[in-house]
Structures are given as structure tokens and as C-alpha cells.
Amino acid sequence: MSDCIFSVRNLSVTLQTGLGLARVVDKISFSLQGGEILGLVGESGCGKSITAAALMGLVLSPQGLVTADQIKLGDKNLTQLDEASLRRVRGSEISMIFQEPLTALDPVFSVGSHLSTVIRRHRGENRRQALRSSVDMLERVGMADADRIMQSYPHQLSGGMRQRVMIAMAMACRPKVLIADEPTTALDVTTQAQVLTQLSELGQSFGTAILLITHDLGVVAQACDRALIMYCGRIVEEAPVKALFGAPTHPYTAGLLAAVPRISTGRAQRVQAIPGLVPHPAALSDGCHFANRCQRADTRCRTLIPNMRSVDGPTNSHLHACHHPLEHSCHAD
């Protein structure tokens, strides 16, 4: 499991916003190994979805500008592929679950046709096989009356069902890399558990590496092997989940963890938001973007961009980008 099948180096995305150009993704790098689930967590609006779209080659030139030193999938460098070859890669080797499933599904095609088209295209099955596989996929993600769902159109499904249809589609392709953009937000926890199990089974049986974008740190803890913490378009911390939850080093990570609401049997405990607001991507200050919300910030933080550094020495598995990292776990409880 140590073979790296997907690696991204210095990916940046610049978008046109009302206030001018904004670099919403700023030189992020990471890599994925076969069968691994990598969590991507970050403040809302920090550029996770854009990263995902950029990796898929779906940010088109009039809307945004994508630059990357390298996006390597297997032995292909996606940055150097033309649209036609990219198209062959998409879906079959790298596929994606979109964040907002209603608008992402074609309203005039039934669920069955969505699924079976994808299955026929990428698995080469005939129509009947594909239909059967589609039903199977639906059942795997916990949809009961698969017959009805197959014939339903997206607008006839509940939010969670649409999301599961997207998941089924993406899983049906058996890609090498799956980018899942908040795939389980509309699912109740029991269904979510089932879906997450399916996702990790996908990794086990087909070696699929999954980039799981989520806000639910519980999900990260339960399902991911490693996690990236993103803030304002930059990756601020990267660590195996154990280390991350056990000893977060970046103040932002720590803030996030502190804000996680937990169920308690007694009275609900209030959680604390990280004070301050996320700066606008078009008006980012120099230095560490988190500086103006960070209690530990000093002038260095405001002027100098912190680089990614290894925390735990040679193993190189826990990295952070902070001038004043937390030395030990501040994780209460």
C-alpha cells in the first residue's frame, strides 16, 4: 500500500471574483496511495471543492486559471494531457462525487440511466448487465426500492438519495482515485456508516484511493487514514488521523477540534467557534492567512508565509505550516 498512485504538486487556482482575481487555491501538494482514504477538512469556502474540480480538469479557462507543477495519476501527468485524453481518464481512472447532487444530476435522465450509462461506458457491460449492476450499486448504498429509484428522476428523490446516487455512480466506475466532495452530508448516521463502509471496501477491493472532503471530523476520525487541513486555499496541516486528533499542531486544527459538537448524555455542552472571520480570498494578507484569528500570531506570522514542515522528524508523515505550532496536544478530553 505504499505505492503512490496520485500526487499533486503546487496546484493553484485563480478565479475571477467580483473584487478581482482571487487565488482560491494556493500551491497545494499532496499524494494518495492505493486504497487509502485521505480526509480533506477546512473552513467553508477555503477552496476544497475548487481543488476537486481542478483536479478533474473541470475548471475551464474563462472561469478560472489552474496551474500545477504536477498532477500525476499513475504514470500519467494530467497537466499535460489534452482534453480528449483527459476525458478518457475522467470517470474511469478518476471520478468525483459532487457536493450538490440535485443540480449535478441530469434532470431528464432517470437514475437507472445515469448509472447504467456510466457502468456501460467504464465497465463495458451490456445493457442488461449494466442495469443489474446499477440495482446492485443502489442496494449497496442502502437504497431499498431500487426498482423505483432506478425509474425515478433526480427531482423525485430526497436529498440523501441523490447523494447516494452520485456515490453509486462514482463507485460504479471503480476508479483509481475518487474525489468525494462532502458525500454524506445529507445522510443520516446509520446510512452514512453503511456508505462509508462501502467506500472503504472499494479501496480494499479495487485499490481505489479516496480524497474525502468533509466537515464532519467524526467521519474523518472513523473513515480516514490521513487528513489534510486546509485554510484559505493552503494546506496548513497534514497528518495521520491518530496524530491529528491526538496531537494537532496547527492552531487552526486545534480550533476546529474544539468546535466539534459532541453528544453527551447529560446537558449539551456549548462549543466555541474560532473567533473572527475567514478573509476574502481576493484580499488575503501576506504571511499566514490564519494570523488575524490566531492568538499566537506575531509579526512574523503576518509577513512570512510558513512552509510545510515535518513535525515528527524523519517519518515525515505529520506536516504543518505554522511558525508557532502547538507543542503538545491541546485537545481536551
Binding site: L102, D145, Q156, D188, V189, H215, I263
Partner: protein, 326 residues
């Protein structure tokens, strides 16, 4: 039973959809749901995906007309409202949609979308409406520059907050929030939770808060309803529910909440056959997956039982399960 004091009361609401265009095949998305929401209280609604929560919300708003049952607002039947009554009602119940991208006009800027209800209900002087919209955005943690953007230019979480801002910009009496915090990071979520509690406290706004995140529900809700396959299988005051959930499904839910601690064991999904909404199982709808199923569960539809002694409706705990059948 003093239903009159309730802000919103839902009685035996049924919503059915036609399936595949045929007249005969009907899918019952909401099956005889009743509950009350009192002014200034927060009613948390959880349930399985596809159990009819959105349908319930939409039918309360009269966006999909309920097949039967009624919805009363201030004791008046919504379905019969007309003219200024209706307008007042519209102003006082706002819905934040589950699908924010789809629910915002693609060709209208956020500002236009936010000011629109203000214009319509003539809230504030025209020149102050922009400021008010701006404030609403700020309260949900967005900056004013979002005003000039279009829905597709926002991130998922931002859109969700815009949808929420749109619901609260008119300061209604009741906000129905359909999974309104699901795409927000925990920090923002915490902020929104704070905001909601504040709004409730200061303005007395009541919420019907639909969510999957039980932790959020626990933080917010006074009452919690649990839906399964169109039925409200349990309603209880929040603290009671989290302390001693009565229905096996509720318990399964609570057990499946992923804990943000890698050391903790992985949550287990429910076992058993997922029932079809089109042909719901006979008897208790949950019996196919219930760990404590008995024979009668397979044939008899359990009635709603009150299982605590509290005489007051506000604090009573109802459950639809044979286990609690005396």
C-alpha cells in the same frame, strides 16, 4: 391538550406522491405526522434519509399540497388562508431549502435574492433594506462582498448560509431549516448554533430544525422528533431523548454517530433489509431492521404511546413501538 398555544401544529399530515406518472402507484412520503411547535422553541427533526422530512417541510409551507391532514399556524389552517392572512403567514414562516444552489435564482445576485423578501413584505425603508441584507449575511458569518456575487460563485457552505440568511432576513416567527448546517465546517456550525439560540432568545423565533447531525440537534433543540419511513416514530424533549431514547431506531441512530476520535470503534450500520417506501412493510415499519423485533411487530402497527407521566404535552415523550405498549 392545549393546541391553541402552539405556534405551528401539524395534524395527521399525509403527503403522497405519484410514482412514475401513474395515478395508482402512490408513494406515501409523510404518513400521518402530528406535532406542535411552540413560539420560541426549537423542534429538531431527525430521521432516515428519504423518510419524508423535506416533504414534511414543503407541505407545511404548502409548496406541495398535503394529501390530507392539516397544518395550523396560530390556530388557523394554512390551506384556507387567503389574501393578507396568507401574506402574513408567508412572512412569518420561512424555509431554508435543503438544496441551496437549486433554490437560489441563478441569474440574480445574492443581494437581489436577499432583498427580495424585504421588498415584498415592505420591511424597512427601501434604502435600509440593503443594510439589513448585509447584516443578515454578517450574522451567518459572510462578508458583504457576497452580496454582489451569484449563487454559483459561492462555496457549498456559503450558499447554505445565504439560504439561511434569506430565511431569517425577514425575522419570521418560524424558520424551517432543512439541513441548513450540513455543509458548514464545525467552526461556522458553532457560530450558527449560537446565532440560532440567540435569535430564539432575543426575537422569539421558533425553528423546525432538520438535521442529521445529532450533536447539533442536541445543542439546539428543545424537542426532537424522529422520523422513519414517513412516520414520526418518536417525539420527546431533547434532554430526555438523548438520555433515554425509547425507540430502537433512535437508539441505533445515537449509536451510529461517528465519534471524532480515531480510537473509538467504527460505527455500525443497521442490519437487516431496508424497507421500500412504495410498499412499506406491514406492522411496524421498522421491524425489518429492528434488533428487538417480536411477532406482533410484523403485523400490528404500533400506536403512539406516551411513556412519561408528565401531564403536560410540552414535555411528554411519545413513541410508536410495541415495546412500550403496556
Amino acid at each position: 391538550m392545549q393546541t391553541d398555544s402552539a405556534l405551528l401544529s401539524v395534524r395527521e399530515l399525509v403527503v403522497r406522491y405519484r410514482v412514475n406518472g401513474s395515478r395508482r402507484e402512490l408513494l406515501t412520503a409523510v404518513n400521518g405526522v402530528s406535532f406542535d411547535i411552540h413560539a420560541g422553541s426549537i423542534f429538531g427533526l431527525v430521521g432516515e434519509s428519504g423518510s419524508g422530512k423535506t416533504s414534511l417541510a414543503h407541505s407545511i409551507m404548502q409548496l406541495t399540497l398535503p394529501t390530507s391532514g392539516e397544518v395550523q399556524f396560530h390556530g388557523k389552517n394554512l390551506a384556507h388562508m387567503k389574501g393578507s392572512d396568507l401574506k402574513k403567514m408567508r412572512r412569518n414562516i420561512q424555509l431554508a431549502f435543503q438544496d441551496p444552489l437549486a433554490s437560489l435564482s441563478p441569474r440574480r445576485s445574492i443581494q437581489q435574492s436577499l432583498i427580495e423578501p424585504l421588498d415584498h413584505f415592505r420591511i424597512d425603508a427601501p434604502e435600509q433594506r440593503r443594510a439589513r441584507a448585509c447584516r443578515a449575511l454578517e450574522t451567518v458569518g459572510l462578508e458583504a462582498d457576497v452580496l454582489l456575487r451569484f449563487p454559483h460563485e459561492l462555496s457549498g457552505g456559503q450558499r447554505q448560509r445565504v439560504a439561511l440568511a434569506r430565511a431569517l432576513v425577514t425575522e419570521p416567527e418560524l424558520i424551517i431549516a432543512d439541513e441548513s448546517v450540513s455543509s458548514m465546517d464545525v467552526s461556522v456550525q458553532a457560530r450558527i448554533i449560537e446565532l440560532i439560540l440567540n435569535l430564539r432568545q432575543q426575537l422569539g423565533i421558533a425553528f423546525l430544525f432538520i438535521a442529521h447531525d445529532l450533536a447539533v440537534i442536541q445543542q439546539l433543540a428543545d424537542h426532537v422528533g424522529v422520523m422513519y419511513l414517513g412516520k414520526m416514530i418518536e417525539i420527546a424533549p431533547a434532554d430526555r431523548l438523548f438520555r433515554q431514547a425509547a425507540h430502537p431506531y433512535t437508539r441505533a441512530l445515537l449509536e451510529a454517530v461517528p465519534v471524532p476520535d480515531p480510537a473509538h470503534g467504527k460505527p455500525v450500520a443497521l442490519q437487516g433489509e431496508v424497507p421500500s417506501a412504495l410498499t412499506p412493510p406491514a406492522g411496524c415499519v421498522f421491524h425489518t431492521r429492528c434488533p428487538r423485533v417480536e411477532d406482533r411487530c410484523r403485523v400490528l402497527d404500533p400506536l403512539s404511546n406516551q411513556i412519561n407521566e408528565s401531564g403536560e404535552k410540552r414535555t411528554s415523550h411519545h413513541v410508536k413501538c410495541h415495546l412500550w405498549n403496556p
